[in-house]
Symmetry: C2
Subunit: 365 residues, 2 copies
């Protein structure tokens, strides 16, 4: 395997409102350090992939409006390695743009495509896993996705059923994919994990650029047709205009739905490192390692808590004294301009406030 | 009655931490508009007494450190009418200082002494009541205190037992005082209000300056001895030094405990206007007239509340969006640097945070 042929595409275009009110459209989760790791998610992701591919082979694809935040957080990245999506169009158009860009640079390109806001708990194992996946796709014309062994019937994740199941997992062997299922209900998820054939779809893909190109052309011609003429346009003076037009007309579709669920080239590589997409405030609470004897997780300044259990307090500035009494299983999120106090597991209320309230709130300010 | 002989002394020296964290030692309750009346307590008190006595007859006694706040909130007051207490010594030394000051100006002075942070709900009736009390003390050598008919066995108030009770109340007649009781327990308070002989002590006193002077000399010589020489000192160049020395050596004692409970000249005048000393956050909740259909009182900016009942939210800047779910009988107080979330009636916790936490917190900042 020639490491000069290995590339990384970090997708950082999401407007991540799930950590609202800490995350905002103007500064979504990937640009924050919600998990108090000392680095923002995108910085940590970038540093992780620096251990795998050369610096000049790391591409960040993001929304045009986040260019400055990316440059501020990854100052060493060359501006030609920041791909700007003029409109939010989910992952398939983003991957199309990145794929054509890399093919223009190197027809032999092998690529790992990754979200920018996940937690990985064993970097060495992660690095080793990605290297092995690169080796596999070098000689196999497959679209590889990483699969995490599920530990609970989580209904927030996508599930991938593999031909091979536990044995393949134990022997560290890539398996062909049988089915994809997006966010099943609780009963279905429980059934899934009991079979031993299902994995969580980590959303990290490894493939040759030429493979994903031909599979997209096959299953998503509505998208790839818009990129006709990419060989001349990309890297030229008209790139920005070309991309603006392509994205403008493009459908909004994920690579999972548009390609992975349809192709017979989908393979899954079972992984053994710890993975968490921190998709909800509650998952952050579950992740935070330091809890007090009452199960409280305080990501804040000085706290006085009495008769309070399993409560999470997040006050990003950590400047405020917060005194709480008599709360159970609550979360308290305090920012400069928003205060949320609600049960940790109340997804409906949180969706309500981060969905309905947020745009309304932008107006309100 | 000669109105030129009528004076008002507004006591505004308290460091009021009961509305912490909104009130601070640096800006206690009397300088705030906790009840959202559109005026601070001291401003409202001052304006109320302007309807009774001439402007130049209103004295404000306050702690030296609050001089600037007083001047800012009552810009029209002459600086000679601001008496500065160099040390906090409760009400008796404050009243001694004010009494000598007024006697120096006018040996015939009649005085109403009042706290600066109470709510009065019928100003016309209040004005009429004080005028009648002034008339009474003009010809009677008594120390008059205003008595409010108790509506509940409140354990935060002082109670005054009167010779006369309900009949005297109905006929609007001052009554001699039988007993004083500071903050009884619940059973005692219930007993009190059932007899019909007890009133809440509003802490508003009316007397002739010469009467309180001689009663203080009789019952509090430890205090009055320190003011020996006041005729020469007050109004002279040495006043500040004289007062500094007097307060420095003076005991800390209230006029109730030091004089009113001991003298046989204590009389009570029953009042019919609404009165509330807003001594606790909970009393503010009870006072606030505009509650939503779930009994919530929101003194804040935009609120999203679901499944929330009898909750008070106070966010003085009113700039923040506050989203709450599933709280019952709670109070949420949010300031720039402190957030309190606790049951409204949990006096112990509130005392804890405003007592223990506050000095600690000043350190913490």
């Amino acid at each position: 395997m020639n490491i000069q042929n290995c590339y990384c595409v970090i997708m950082a275009g999401g407007s991540g409102t799930r950590f609202w009110p800490v995350s905002r459209t103007s500064r979504p989760k990937q640009f924050l350090d919600v998990a108090s790791k000392g680095k923002t998610f995108i910085r940590e992701t970038y540093d992780r992939f620096l251990k795998i591919v050369p610096k000049e082979n790391i591409i960040i694809a993001t929304a045009a409006k986040y260019r400055e935040i990316v440059q501020e957080q990854i100052p060493e990245i060359d501006s030609s390695n920041i791909l700007l999506e003029p409109y939010p169009r989910s992952t398939a158009p983003c991957i199309a743009y990145a794929t054509y860009t890399l093919l223009k640079r190197n027809p032999e390109a092998q690529v790992v495509v990754t979200p920018s806001d996940h937690l990985i708990d064993d970097e060495d194992l992660f690095v080793e896993t990605i290297r092995k996946a690169f080796e596999y796709v070098e000689t196999n014309d497959v679209l590889m996705t990483l699969g995490v062994v599920p530990t609970r019937p989580d209904t927030n994740y996508g599930y991938v059923q593999a031909m091979g199941g536990k044995e393949a997992f134990l022997s560290d062997t890539p398996m062909q994919v049988k089915t994809f299922t997006e966010k099943p209900d609780k009963d279905m998820a429980t059934l899934f994990i009991n079979t031993g054939e299902f994995f969580w779809n980590a959303g990290i893909f490894i493939w040759r650029a030429s493979t994903i190109k031909s599979e997209m052309e096959k299953y998503l011609p509505e998208v790839t047709d818009l990129f006709n003429g990419w060989e001349a346009a990309i890297g030229s003076k008209i790139e920005e205009e070309f991309i603006l037009r392509a994205f403008s007309d493009c459908m909004n579709i994920s690579i999972d739905y548009g390609v992975m669920e349809k192709t017979d080239r989908a393979w899954i590589y079972p992984v053994k490192f710890g993975w968490n997409d921190l998709g909800t405030w509650e998952s952050l609470y579950n992740f935070l390692p330091e809890k007090d004897e009452d199960g409280n997780a305080f990501q804040s300044g000085k706290i006085l808590a009495e008769d309070t259990h399993n409560v999470m307090v997040v006050s990003p500035e950590k400047k405020k004294l917060i005194a709480i009494k008599g709360l159970e299983d609550y979360m308290i999120i305090d920012t400069d301009d928003v205060l949320v106090i609600c049960p940790k597991d109340d997804k409906k209320f949180k969706d309500f406030i981060s969905g309905i309230a947020m745009p309304d709130y932008e107006k309100y300010r």
